[in-house]
Symmetry: C2
Subunit: 333 residues, 2 copies
Amino acid sequence: MSVTIKKIAKDLDLAVSTVSKALRDSHEISAETKARVFEHAAKLDYIPNPYASSLKKGRSGNIAVVLPEVADSFFSAAINGIDSVAHEKGYHTMVYLTHEDIQREQSIVREFRNGRVDGVLMSIVANNAKYEHLRELCASDVPLVFFDRVCEDIPTASVITNDFESGYIAAQHLIEKGCKYIVFLSMPGELAIIKHRQNGYQQALQDHGMEPRIIYCTDREEENIAVIDKLLTGEHKPDGIIGSIEKITIPVYTVCHSRNIPIPSAIKIIAFSHLQIAALLNPPLTTIAQPAFEMGKAAATILFKTLAKKYDLKEEKIVIPSVLMMRASTHTD
Amino acid sequence: MSVTIKKIAKDLDLAVSTVSKALRDSHEISAETKARVFEHAAKLDYIPNPYASSLKKGRSGNIAVVLPEVADSFFSAAINGIDSVAHEKGYHTMVYLTHEDIQREQSIVREFRNGRVDGVLMSIVANNAKYEHLRELCASDVPLVFFDRVCEDIPTASVITNDFESGYIAAQHLIEKGCKYIVFLSMPGELAIIKHRQNGYQQALQDHGMEPRIIYCTDREEENIAVIDKLLTGEHKPDGIIGSIEKITIPVYTVCHSRNIPIPSAIKIIAFSHLQIAALLNPPLTTIAQPAFEMGKAAATILFKTLAKKYDLKEEKIVIPSVLMMRASTHTD
DNA sequence: TGTTGATACGAAAACGGTTTCGTAAATAAC
DNA sequence: GTTATTTACGAAACCGTTTTCGTATCAACA
């Protein structure tokens, strides 16, 4: 069995409480005894049992990160940001994937109320408007911070990017490049970030006297290819496309390549994406790049701030702006 | 405070032990009592405290996944595979990032010996040959399964792909496409998978009477760009390149684009990569695609098999073959 | 000399479950 | 009618820590 405080106490002929205090560097214990304890603990390679102390202290030293998907450059970069601060604080990171499944999200979140994690960082699933599980989580005193995909109905802290403005900028960029008919590839559901991007797009088109058109994609790639193929080969073809999420990029490019639709001459494309490799696509893809790492870092920082003192989460709303990365899919030089 | 077994027992005028057994569906408890307990537990929304039961049972219900990096298509897909089986088994997944830092890996792994996790899935860092921490982990009865980046000095289970053969196939493919001078972009350090890919490459070249050349990259992108730029603009330029890891793709393409070196006519490129988007690069990149999801799934499956019964990890070595995805970076039609 | 006050440590009660063991009552076996 | 066995439950120990409280020792002070 593993070496415990009891073992150390017995070896050194001390009480368990004395050893415990010595290890926590309590002022109650003499320097001499501390030295003996530390030395012997090191010799035996003592590692405290995290469950015993979690049970007693009511803190786990874990945080949860709940995401729809990890195979997405935004989320993986956000994890990096989160982990960078969690590691620094000595916390452990538990990752939960929802795969855009609301039931899975619910069952995951429900379990958090028992103290397995001290706090939760979360990007919610699309495709739903049920927030009872999130409300219950907040009610049970587990601090919750949203990042990117926030739920605006829950009064807690969040870290987002300037989605409305980014949608506006994306549309404006296409308009400046001469597009006359710009389609917005959206996602069904109630996702605030999509709504805001879409609203920004609509506002930009309205400001320029143009008619918006929204097309909804799913998370099944073949369906998206079919929908986009129909769009790009039907009558009244668009000359500009805004992809509201990263995943939509692949089907759009795939269709353009297979149908020999030249980018950017026949159609200009811009996507919300964090992909590094966008610059190497054929042609290089213009993106609205979200500050993924920074957003994860900011969200984690807020969480630890509340964990440290009783800081009020409800006030904090951080907005970190996205950046337009202009490349050849919208631009000829 | 949160609702405990004690509370339920008191409400129902039962002993704590009775409630505990009822909740675990013990045969010692009558159907009637069980029904009462379950009903009341549901009504109070009882969630068991994971630390109390972990402490007593000596199992945490957590597994650790230790990776160099999450912003890599192989590792993110592997996490998906791991999570799919962990979730099915009711386990929780803790993710640890080493960022290729051996000291970080050591401190992470050392902590596992106290029972915070019941088992470890791991891809080791490059750049080192120190395995003492891994040996200690194994010695302390925490089951360890390697995937992809295995440490061959540690006698435990592993899931890998056919690296030697893949290296051979990659080289052979380039030779078949007419390359006369093929460079292998390697990584410094002791990583077995790199060695094997490299050996496969060397064997292929030797079999065709060609002279191998290895160039070592780092994990700093600017350095790699400088090295590759020097290679592709110097005298005695290669007409074929094999990238041993995914990250090397970006600098290679970047240099070719900036120096106007046409792919595949002047140089053919093949990379070990799991990137979906490789098909959309300019030109589409030929890859040796590893079965990332399946490898993660297989590794997790082995781990849970040992967790269930005392199954001997040391025997299991699973090899899941990679697939050559032929695309335009090595191939003109 | 008696009182205070540190100082340094020990005993024991938690934390919230699980598990072993004991036992009363009911039933079965002889 | 006595003994054996099953059924259904309770009491208490235990997992490894933390924390509160008690106390013995010794110096300091009046």
